[in-house]
């Protein structure tokens, strides 16, 4: 019985491990980053709340198969949180400004942030036609978004997104609660079965 339990637990671990390995391999294949790139975020004007996201890519390190800047597209993302999970939400895309051969290629998008506080932005460079979905280059940056740009300097304000941290702990709390309920349920079942069986055996032997 004991061996069977140990084997069962090991089997579950092995299967979980295989699933993790499969998902890890596929994630790795989808993203290839190389070369220098920068992403700058700035206000459109001192009084504006609109942001300009400007990315610069070094053209010499890009794929040689592409012939002009129109072969590339830059995708812009902002990191979002929902409950506990984090993910990248696309906020725009732009073509590149210069043709291949020039030193740098740039692109720009504007974005009106909907939250204040520290926002993480990302840009990804993709080739338009071939190898769709393969990221050639990427860059991330953090920008402190202020609701009123003419107000306090951004360094002195640390806005927090409502319930930003709650989700993280709430999920752990809920999972712990579920685990406790399962332990309680099987604990009760085990307790009853054990007591009934033990007392029955004792009474039969007497």
């Amino acid at each position: 019985m004991k061996n069977f339990l140990i084997k069962s637990v090991l089997t579950v671990f092995i299967i979980s491990g295989l699933f993790s390995l499969m998902s890890y391999t596929s994630a790795k294949a989808a993203s290839v980053t190389s070369g220098d790139s920068t992403l700058n975020v700035a206000l459109k004007s001192p009084k504006s709340s609109t942001l300009l996201l400007t990315s610069t890519f070094s053209s010499t390190q890009l794929a040689s198969t592409a012939k002009s800047s129109s072969d590339y597209v830059a995708l812009y993302f902002v990191q979002t949180t929902e409950f506990s999970s984090r993910g990248w939400m696309q906020i725009g895309s732009a073509s590149l400004s210069a043709s291949t051969g020039e030193e740098n290629m740039t692109s720009t998008v504007s974005y009106d942030p909907t939250w204040t506080g520290r926002e993480t932005f990302k840009v990804e460079l993709l080739q338009n036609q071939n190898d769709a979905g393969v990221v050639l280059n990427s860059a991330t940056t953090v920008f402190n978004v202020l609701k009123d740009p003419s107000g306090f300097p951004s360094s002195e304000i640390n806005y927090q997104r409502p319930m930003n941290q709650v989700g993280k702990w709430l999920v752990r709390g809920l999972l712990t609660l579920v685990a406790l309920v399962w332990i309680l349920m099987f604990g009760v079942l085990g307790f009853v079965v054990n007591r009934v069986s033990k007392n029955g055996k004792v009474a039969l032997n007497d």
Binding site: F19, S23, E82, F83, S84, S85, G167, V171, L174, V178, V181, W182, L184, M185, V188, L189, F191, V192, V193, R195, V196, S197, N199, G200, K201, A203, L204
Partner: protein, 489 residues
């Protein structure tokens, strides 16, 4: 089953209940085992075969749906959620009612519950399994179901739905199994040495040397009390989380703060009605009128109507609050006066007014009247779930015409298969287990105890004694208190 019949007669003298000369328990045992020891008659076979045919037709319809897509079930991009999610809510809801009613009556020490609990708990187990199975036709792509485990999204209420339903199913199974331990031992002893291998495996191994001594009874009661306490919040959580699958979307008509209690009360309401239907069916089929009397139905009827009143209050609170603002209220118009109005008003009349009238009028306040009312409650609450799902799902969020959902033979057949599966599984199940919990029935004692109505003071006194250890003298009957007051004056 012939073997069971013969051995039962041969070994009956060895069983404690019979030895004790307790005629009450002899009668109880006879009735409880009637589903097992008697050979099934022609009507039983006919019903089982008919129900089985409907279930097979449902499976065929599902295979057809897998092959031809969700469109074959009437789904389209303007009606993306429809009948199957209403089925999921309805079936899991009635399960919740069965489990919670049994748990509450057990915790409050209501002795009249004894002939009902086994049927209610079995119904809870069967319906949660069927309700859970409805997720597969609802998904459209059942092969993606495993993704919820392999790639869990903790932000999604659907993940927590899965967790809650799974946990509740396990709790319901344990809640159903624990009171079965003494019965398993009884059947094992009754069958004697002539047991077949599967009978030995099933009854003997699941009874765990139960002899019915005080220590064993104490352990069983303690375990049952904890599970009864646990299953109530679990059932509340299941339906709350199920409601969040709707309420956490930004769709008008679904994004309602009232949804969790709204769903919980609907589940309790339809669950009580379903308990009445199951009890009425088995009472008639196995002639249990001596143990399950009109008074059982009357009490369940009172409970059902009380829950129905809370539910209509919540329905009106939802419609009036949302309707008053006048923002994105197209779904309310559709529900009350539009294309879904016949369904909504059917719920109001058949699911709310009818049960109130049946229970209010003395002439109809009996087993037959309350069973008919319960039938309409179950049907109309399913219709009500459709009314909750469809108008908001078909409302255009930007512009354009309303979507529409049309039933097809596929969705109707799959839904009917789920309905047929309830009596089918129960009838099969009770070929192997007794209709009553013998332990509960023994505790309940004579018929007077099963019929006894406890006053609120008595229930409170019992709870205080059992869980707090405080002895409170409670009057035996309410009438006696009144009489004493009059004499005192």
């Amino acid at each position: 089953m012939t073997v069971i019949e013969k051995t039962y007669e041969a070994d009956a003298v060895e069983v404690n209940h019979s030895q004790s000369g307790n005629h009450w328990m002899d009668d109880v045992t006879d009735s409880a085992m009637s589903s097992m020891k008697n050979k099934p008659g022609k009507i039983w076979w006919l019903i089982v075969l008919l129900l089985g045919a409907v279930i097979v037709a449902g499976v065929v319809a599902w295979i057809y749906q897998l092959k031809h897509g969700m469109g074959s079930a009437g789904y389209n991009d303007r009606s993306f959620w429809a009948v199957y999610i209403a089925d999921v809510i309805t079936f899991i809801g009635v399960s919740y009612g069965g489990a919670v009613i049994s748990a509450i009556l057990r915790l409050t020490g209501q002795s009249w519950r004894a002939p009902l609990t086994r049927l209610a708990e079995a119904m809870a187990l069967v319906t949660v399994a069927i309700g859970g199975a409805f997720i597969f036709p609802h998904l459209g792509r059942p092969d993606r179901f495993l993704n919820i485990v392999v790639y869990p999204n903790f932000s999604s209420p659907l993940f927590w739905d899965f967790m809650a339903i799974l946990t509740y199913t396990v709790a319901t199974t344990i809640f159903f199994y624990l009171p079965l331990i003494p019965d398993m031992a009884f059947i094992s002893k009754m069958l004697g040495e002539k047991k077949k291998l599967w009978q030995r495996m099933f009854y003997s191994s699941l009874s765990f040397n139960w002899l019915g001594n005080e220590k064993q009874k104490k352990a069983l009661h303690r375990g049952l009390t904890i599970i009864s306490l646990l299953i109530i919040p679990l059932a509340v959580s299941v339906h709350s989380v199920l409601s969040w699958a709707f309420a956490l979307t930004s769709r008008p008509g679904w994004m309602e703060t009232v949804f969790p209690p709204y769903f919980v009360i609907a589940a309790l309401y339809s669950g009580t009605a379903m308990v009445v239907l199951v009890v009425a069916g088995f009472r008639k089929g196995y002639k249990l009128q001596r143990f399950i009397t009109d008074r059982h139905f009357t009490r369940l009827g009172y409970l059902m109507v009380a829950l129905g009143l809370v539910y209509i209050y919540l329905t009106l609170a939802d419609l009036i609050t949302e309707g008053y603002t006048g923002i994105t209220t197209g779904w309310i118009q559709q529900t009350v006066t539009g294309s879904y109005a016949p369904a909504f008003w059917f719920y109001v009349f058949a699911g709310e007014l009818l049960p109130i009238l049946v229970v209010a009028i003395k002439k109809t306040r009996n087993a037959t009247g309350i069973t008919i009312a319960s039938f309409f409650v179950v049907i109309s609450l399913w219709v009500k779930r459709l009314v909750i799902v469809l108008p908001p799902a078909t409302q255009p969020l930007i512009a354009g015409p309303w979507g529409s959902y049309h039933f097809t033979w596929v969705s109707i057949t799959i839904t009917l298969a789920g309905v047929a599966a309830i009596p089918f599984l129960l009838m099969i199940m009770f070929r192997f287990i007794p209709l009553f919990s013998l332990e509960d029935m023994e505790e309940a004692g004579e018929l007077g105890s099963i019929e006894q109505v406890s006053t609120h003071t008595q229930i409170l006194a019992r709870i205080l004694k059992k869980y707090v250890g405080v002895e409170v003298a409670a009057p035996a009957k309410a009438e006696m208190t009144v009489q004493a007051t009059v004499e005192g004056e």
